[in-house]
């Protein structure tokens, strides 16, 4: 999972992953979209490949890259656990806020009544 974080932390690589969400693309497509030099794009694609985030297939002269969902799913599972713990706490906060709102209304009504 650390590899996934590291790979995604670089803004251009993040953009590549976003771009590949729409479907497989050639190196040239990525070069075009990101407006970067080809060696730079190839380097980023290699890092993404090492992290298991993309997969490459050679089609005639072209190298086609496809997004691999497994590492992203792992990241999502991790975030989901984190989310669940907080969500439980926030549901307690929801109840507490309801109680505070009710108290507030009563106080406001009492003030009005005194006037």
């Amino acid at each position: 999972m650390l590899e996934t974080f590291k790979a995604l932390a670089e803004p251009h690589r993040f953009q590549i992953v976003e771009f590949l969400r729409d479907g497989p693309r050639s190196v040239n497509d990525v070069v075009h979209r990101l407006r970067l030099a080809q060696p730079q794009v190839s380097k980023h694609l290699r890092v993404l490949g090492d992290a298991g985030l993309v997969n490459v297939r050679v089609d005639a002269q072209r190298r086609i890259y496809t997004l691999q969902p497994a590492p992203l799913k792992q990241l999502d599972v991790w975030l989901e656990r984190y989310r669940q713990i907080w969500e439980r706490n926030f549901q307690h906060l929801d109840s507490l806020l309801d109680e505070l709102k009710t108290k507030n209304k009563k106080r406001t009504r009492a003030k009005r009544a005194r006037r």
Binding site: K6, E80, R88, F90, D94, L96, L97
Partner: protein
């Protein structure tokens, strides 16, 4: 029950941060209060399952100290100490955290913002690690143990880390 509009969103806006957004059906003045009064915090910030916020001290002024400590049913405890950096009721709260068992590779900075719209409050809470290495180290603690259980523990402590 929260509807889709109040559902908690968690994201990693950068390699040094974890961010959460949640909508509460209350004015932000109350949400801010719930975050800054120990007697209120103890009533909702329980931490992971079977934990409770046993000790909570707050000196609510810039430079003021805060201390939070959770206890588990089995007697274990975890906690952090920190300092308030910014207090702007009911907009914004910024404080530092250092965990007793340094899960997070040094100090983290927590920023909580409260935005109100039509009586509802959108809270955004962002934890910034001291460095990319610090965040990686916090994650690696769990990676080295490998087991799913360690992941659970890591998630628990990272979740606690925000508190």
């Amino acid at each position: 029950m929260p509807d889709a509009g109040t559902k908690l969103q968690v994201s990693t806006p950068s390699d040094r941060e974890v961010s959460m957004t949640r909508v509460f059906d209350a004015p932000r003045r109350l949400v801010f209060e719930a975050w800054t009064k120990p007697e209120l915090l103890k009533r909702w910030l329980y931490g992971p399952a079977d934990w409770r916020l046993a000790d909570c001290k707050i000196d609510l002024r810039p430079g003021g100290a805060l201390r939070f400590e959770w206890r588990h049913q089995d007697g274990n405890h975890m906690g952090f100490s920190g300092v308030y950096r910014e207090i702007t009721p009911p907009d914004r709260l910024v404080f530092t955290e250092v965990w007793d068992e340094d899960w997070t590779g040094g100090e983290t900075l927590v920023t909580i913002t409260f935005a109100e719209h039509a009586g509802k409050t959108t809270m955004t809470q962002t934890v910034l690690y001291s460095s990319r290495a610090a965040r990686d180290a916090a994650l690696k603690t769990g990676m080295e143990h490998g087991a799913a259980q360690s992941f659970d523990r890591l998630a628990e402590f990272l979740a606690g880390k925000n508190q």
